[in-house]
Amino acid sequence: MKRACAMLVAALLVAAAPLRAAEIPPDQRRSGYSFMGPDSKAMQDDDTANPGMLWVLDGEALWNKRPGAANNACADCHGDARASMKGVAARYPAFDKALGRPVDLEQRINLCRAQHQQAPALDYESHDLLALSAFIANQSRGMPITPDGDSQLAPFIARGHELFMQRQGQLNLACANCHDDNWDKRLAGAAITQGQPTGYPMYRLEWQTLGSLQRRLRGCMTGIRAQAYNYGAPELVELELYLMSRAAGMPIETPAVRP
């Protein structure tokens, strides 16, 4: 299966015309949801069948827990997440003035833990960080992605765009080669899709667990045999930022289910 995938990627590479670099027109943008079969769609739509909801429930419990020396729960500052966190995930990554760079939702949670809770940072892809980010992002479900309008973000979005268009790895593929130019085709049995980040963190059946957008990006990089950036690397945040600006207006689905 893996070999077949690699061969197909190679075939695609040989057949591919020079990078078309055509962005997807707004009216043709499609969430990964629309590429799925009816079973996977039903799984995402039903909150008692969607395994991502297990993390959302855990996140709700963590929201009210006091993990650090400051004896502060998220709820002690932010109150009811249903009101205070509504729309927050739809505008992340956001610009952090103190750091002078964009931070994604996971990094924001860890900054909050360090500054206001005096609690140790949670590891990327750890259960608790996924649970908290899923719970927070779930409050924005159905809301359109509305990127942070801070003009200081512009150079970071531009760098993310550059990375998206940059060929890399032994297969010498850019994100755009698949997700801008060939999203209507298939790679072996699987739909290529447009790579729209609408449902993160999401439950991927292949992973059998919830995963972040950074995990997905790293998986793609390994797939094209490039050296994946480390979790939390500025390049990954810039890519997240570009992807969110590329998907502006599309509704958040967290927790999405994907094959």
Binding site: D46, T48, P51, M53, L54, D58
Partner: protein, 106 residues
Amino acid sequence: MASALINVPKRAKRGDIIEIRALTSHIMETGYRRKASGEIVPRDIITSFTCRFNGQEIFRADLFPAIAANPYFSFFTTARESGRFEFEWTGDNGFSQTASAAITVE
């Protein structure tokens, strides 16, 4: 870790066929995978799922290593009287989890 997500209709008419859905979180480690060092990752799965209604067993399933993480069950029963469904999952390493849901039959 959140225990389980249960979906049982809150009320039903006598004689109705109702769907019961139960999702629980579990890694379902098969016992066939190896770590990078070559050692086998020990098996850790749920081995049994039982649903009782007012103390009487109405559904049971044995689980095996080929079942995916976070197992999900859906099954049907006939609503005969009001009462309480009790769900129980047991597995390796002393794993045990319970949940319950009430139904009113009119």
